[in-house]
């Protein structure tokens, strides 16, 4: 645990509206401490990239933000995560509502084994939207927002599993958008995709940024520098440095960040 004065130099607070704020966030898997003392502020309607070598717990951090770690037995969280100023780990929090507000796109595309339409309509149906016309509208809007409508509009009733990997990932994004989240957590969304599909997802993120707060975990340094406004560098369960992307990539203050972004390790 670093001194507060020391932290303030390396962990920069973004300007403007705040969406998520963590303080002293720690995560344990049984005895193993995966995250220690992460205090960070995530700006609303901006793209925040989390970078770092494999096993540095950046994905674990992401999963703290929508309480997906609750599903892992033996996982325990300490500290606070504030979403719009409210602690999501408060006992009164309805986790289902939280996850509706904080959507997640996973590393590998994971469409449900059902039609494209039913995939997108899954979330709205869960939350009680059942009328045919309303669902039709949501499905079209979400597929358009995920840049999949033109390719999918003629085969909405076909199995989602017949889509290509890149299309499946855009479907996963459409599925999340259909529940109208405020925050999008993306866990290496392009790692299973080819460069063309990756480019489309990146374009999409920039489009979505105007309406959603996006937090993306990525291994791809170029991706982080291309799309994000803020970047955080994780190492061994600690947030080493956090600030405007330019600063992290061009002029990092910590030697370890400098080594990593220059490709000296990881």
């Amino acid at each position: 645990m670093g001194l507060p004065g020391m932290d303030s130099e390396l962990i920069v607070k973004p300007e403007g509206e705040v969406k998520i704020e963590t303080s002293g966030l720690g995560l344990f898997y049984g005895e193993f401490q995966a995250l220690r003392d992460v205090s960070v502020t995530i700006a609303a309607r901006q793209i925040t990239a989390l970078i770092g070598p494999s096993g540095c717990s950046k994905t674990s951090f992401l999963r703290c933000l929508n309480r997906m770690n609750d599903l892992i037995s033996g996982a325990r969280v300490v500290g606070e995560v504030l979403l719009d100023g409210r602690d999501i780990y408060h006992e009164a929090t309805d986790v289902a509502v939280l996850r509706k507000r904080v959507g997640m796109v996973f590393q590998t595309p994971n469409p449900f084994p059902m039609s494209i339409y039913d995939n997108v309509a899954y979330g709205p149906r869960l939350h009680g939207r059942c009328s045919r016309s309303e669902l039709d509208e949501i499905v079209e809007k979400s597929l358009r927002a995920a840049a999949l409508w033109e390719e999918a509009k003629d085969k909405l009733r076909k199995s989602a599993l017949d889509l290509s990997g890149g299309q499946q990932q855009r479907l996963s994004i459409a599925r999340v958008l259909a529940v109208e989240p405020e925050v999008l957590l993306m866990d290496e969304p392009c790692s299973a995709l080819d460069p063309t599909a990756t480019f489309r997802i990146e374009e999409l993120m920039i489009e979505l940024m105007t309406r959603y707060t996006i937090v993306i975990v990525t291994h791809n340094m170029y991706q982080a520098s291309r799309v994000s406004h803020y970047a955080g560098f994780f190492l061994l369960g600690e947030l080493v440095e956090y600030g405007p992307t330019e600063q992290i990539f061009e002029n990092p203050k910590d030697q370890r960040t400098d080594d990593y972004v220059r490709g000296r390790f990881g």
């Binding site: 996850r99 084994p113 869960l126």
Partner: protein, 288 residues
């Protein structure tokens, strides 16, 4: 250097010869397993074939029809009782239960339940369903007893089917704000259904051939009333009929006994076949 070493290593048999020997031994072992099955089925169908006739199968008075109807009814009712209990237990164990001593205890109980001899189920059924609950010797009591017998298999097969639903589908559902029950009902169960149904059919198929559990609880030899009119009537059943013919009845030819056995085995094999076909058809519709 490497090459010379291995070339000069002394070997009694070349890899090809070892391969051939291993193949022969394994083939023989597999063939040996087939032998008793073929022998039993062969004797049964040859000897039974001599005695079997349409009349024997379809006559309600001295034919097998009451026993066939009885066994089919019994199996159907067993499935109706065992399915909800077994599937619910499996869903609890796989999807809800936190890992801990309680679940370990339940699993231990299931394993032990599967190991209990079937005659003990019969006595238990007699004590609980026939006497204590006052069902009397009847279809319902027999089906309850058989359902208990089938339950460990149903639970185990259902749990396995649930386990095969990929974790990432559950994660995707939770991440969209689904509750656990919504996830189970809309994602997990539909995708596990082929496996669950197959397991259920196979389990009750096994129960169909059991004699001991129905001996004290349901089965009788119908002299006046061949077909039950309610679940509280006793029934004829093929395994019991066979047991009776083999031990107590007089003036019945060996071939007639084999014929009854052939009908029972035929019925069980048909049930298994239904399970296999169901699985193949349902599986074709789903993949991930």
């Amino acid at each position: 250097m490497k090459g010379t070493q291995s070339m000069h290593r002394p070997q009694k048999l070349g890899p090809r010869a070892t391969q051939a020997a291993a193949f022969a031994a394994l083939w023989a072992a597999a063939a040996l397993v087939l032998l008793p099955v073929a022998a039993i089925l062969g004797v049964m169908f040859v000897r039974g074939g001599r005695a079997i006739s349409w009349e024997m199968l379809s006559s309600a008075e001295d034919g097998l029809l009451p026993a066939i109807v009885g066994t089919v009814t019994l199996v159907a009712l067993t499935a109706v009782i065992a399915a909800p209990l077994g599937i619910a237990a499996a869903v609890y164990l796989r999807e809800y239960a936190p890992r801990g001593p309680l679940v370990r205890l339940i699993r231990l109980a299931i394993v032990n339940l599967a190991g209990v001899p079937s005659v003990v189920y019969g006595l238990f059924g007699l004590a609980v369903f026939v006497t204590l609950l006052g069902f009397g010797r009847c279809l319902l009591a027999g089906a309850c007893t058989l359902a208990l017998l089938a339950l460990p298999l149903v639970i185990t097969a259902s749990e396995e089917a649930l386990r095969q639903v990929p974790e990432r589908l559950r994660a995707a559902s939770f991440a969209l704000g689904a509750t656990r029950w919504q996830t189970v009902r809309r994602i997990v169960l539909p995708n596990a259904l082929p496996g669950i149904i197959t397991g259920l059919i196979l389990s009750v198929g096994r129960a169909a051939g059991e004699t001991a559990p129905i001996l004290f609880t349901a089965a009788f030899i119908a002299l006046t009333k061949p077909f039950p009119s309610s679940v509280l009537d006793p029934i004829e059943a093929l395994p019991f009929r066979l047991y009776y013919m083999a031990t107590e009845a007089h003036g019945i030819t060996e071939d007639a006994k084999w014929a009854t056995a052939a009908v029972l085995v035929g019925l069980v094999l048909t049930i298994n076949l239904v399970a296999v076909i169901t699985r193949a058809r349902l599986r074709g519709a789903r993949r991930w």
